[in-house]
Symmetry: C2
Subunit: 300 residues, 2 copies
């Protein structure tokens, strides 16, 4: 039987090595962006999106390393979103994962630009032949590369993650939201990028459009469950954020809208729907399943 945790740490070691390697393709040490980007990328997230991306490639009978290029692009987008989200004009957070946020260390202006650079260059990394050669040795098909750009930009842009952020702002301090409004925020803000991680991994390994779409759905629903869990954990210690920060900021979250029991039930429900999407592919997807369970059961 596969030891899932060991395999995950193998994936993550591969990812960190690739990120380190590609780091040299990014900004030279004399660029004013170098330190801020390096800091933001290395502040040590859980690397959930890269993990799911690599597991998705493997599930379609590819190699996890085929998804490294896509995994880096998705993690760059995730990292930019955290930098911008933490800025004073947004959530004004001083801490992220227990460490000072990028703008606290480098200033608001450089943080803004570091985010812009990561967002833009994610598309450069994703479509670079040289990086594909260097990380895996072969290119995905041209069709699959273009599909990946479409999937990532739609998941991250103004009809995806940024839309979720805008809805989040809209509802902050406002009353009258329905559960559907909350789900709109979560599915866009968190679900879509996680969905793109799964979809890009499958695309990088040459998956069919049908499989790619099912993996996307798996990731989106897993992301929704993940965000509900995140809302609940915000009310507890141990996340590296200030406890109860969401409620204090007047944010619309599961924890501030419904009972703990109802929230936990919703997280379980969306996880089971995510697993059903996976099951409908007929593929061997035990690693992706384990990741979905791990995210549901995490305590921080």
């Amino acid at each position: 039987m596969v030891d899932v945790n060991n395999t995950n740490s193998d994936y993550l070691d591969q990812f960190e090595a690739a990120l380190e390697k590609i780091g040299h393709f990014l900004y030279p040490s004399d660029s004013p962006l170098h330190n801020a980007v390096k800091y933001a990328l290395s502040v040590g997230g859980k690397r959930i999106r890269p993990l799911i991306c690599m597991q998705a490639a493997e599930a379609v009978c590819g190699k996890p390393s085929q998804a490294l290029q896509a995994a880096i692009a998705v993690e760059m987008i995730h990292t930019y979103s955290l930098i911008h989200d933490d800025l004073p004009c947004m959530d004004n957070d001083d801490l992220r994962r227990g460490k000072p946020t990028t703008h606290k260390v480098f200033g608001d202006d450089i943080a803004l630009l570091a985010g812009d650079a990561l967002l833009t260059d994610a598309f450069s990394i994703l479509t670079s032949k040289e990086i594909a050669q260097s990380l895996y040795g072969e290119l995905p098909s041209l069709d699959h590369i273009i599909l990946q750009v479409q999937l990532l930009s739609k998941a991250a842009g103004g009809s995806g993650m940024v839309y979720g952020q805008a809805c989040d702002l809209y509802w902050t301090g406002r009353v009258g939201a329905k559960k559907a409004d909350l789900d709109t925020i979560h599915i866009n803000k968190t679900g879509k990028l996680l969905g793109s991680a799964a979809a890009l991994g499958a695309a990088a390994a040459g998956g069919t459009v049908d499989i790619i779409n099912k993996f996307k759905e798996f990731g989106e629903l897993t992301g929704l469950a993940f965000q509900i869990k995140d809302d609940l954990l915000d009310t507890e210690s141990g996340t590296g954020k200030s406890i109860g920060k969401d409620a204090e900021a007047g944010k619309l979250t599961y924890a501030t809208t419904m009972s703990r029991g109802e929230s936990e039930q919703a997280a379980s429900y969306y996880t089971s729907k995510a697993l059903a999407s996976l099951a409908s592919t007929g593929l061997q997807t035990s690693r992706l399943e384990s990741t979905a369970h791990m995210l549901l059961e995490r305590t921080r």
Copy 2:
């Protein structure tokens, strides 16, 4: 003989119609991003990048309409850069082209997100088959689509426009800069995106890599001359910005670093180098030449 001004206005009418059409592909009217993005895109810039993009397509014996998709993507990137550049944590500008800046109208948070959305979705627009069909009726080759993503992301990202912005910040209020530092700012901040406009236009119409690179060089040098001219115009009235704003902010510019005569000479020099790049293609490029002259001679 072709009446260049009339032709330009034909191009620009085509561009505005396409932008209006694609606007419907962007954000629905109930999205919190809709108004901010529409405002920023329609605040009426000179549309220099779309014009150069369409003229470049024509110069490689394509149709100007083949470049509409790329022209919209480049203008979206340009627009996002203005929104972010005007934010309080950057240049803190209240006016742009004589009108209130996006964050003054919609708030810093929505302005930040509108910029993020435009930047991300530029890549979605650039790679969309549906939009290619709708604007021109045919797709560029897959190779040319991927090349366009590479050209645009490299021109706009942390080794291009965003790098120029970061260098601009670095030198603000600092002494000891050399003319080379100033050129590094200008070529990155302004030249590279203009270069990508010319390169993408040529790529959209199926130009060879050699021609695409020469057009890129033409656009970069034209952009450098454009920015020197912009620095000079900042010291005069009529640009819609406050007069002398750059000097007041301690910005490193041509106007604050060398004499008017030397600056004008530099702008002419870079324009003539730009024209030499064009001439080296052996193509019929009179419209691009006229645009370079028009930018050098403009009075606002």
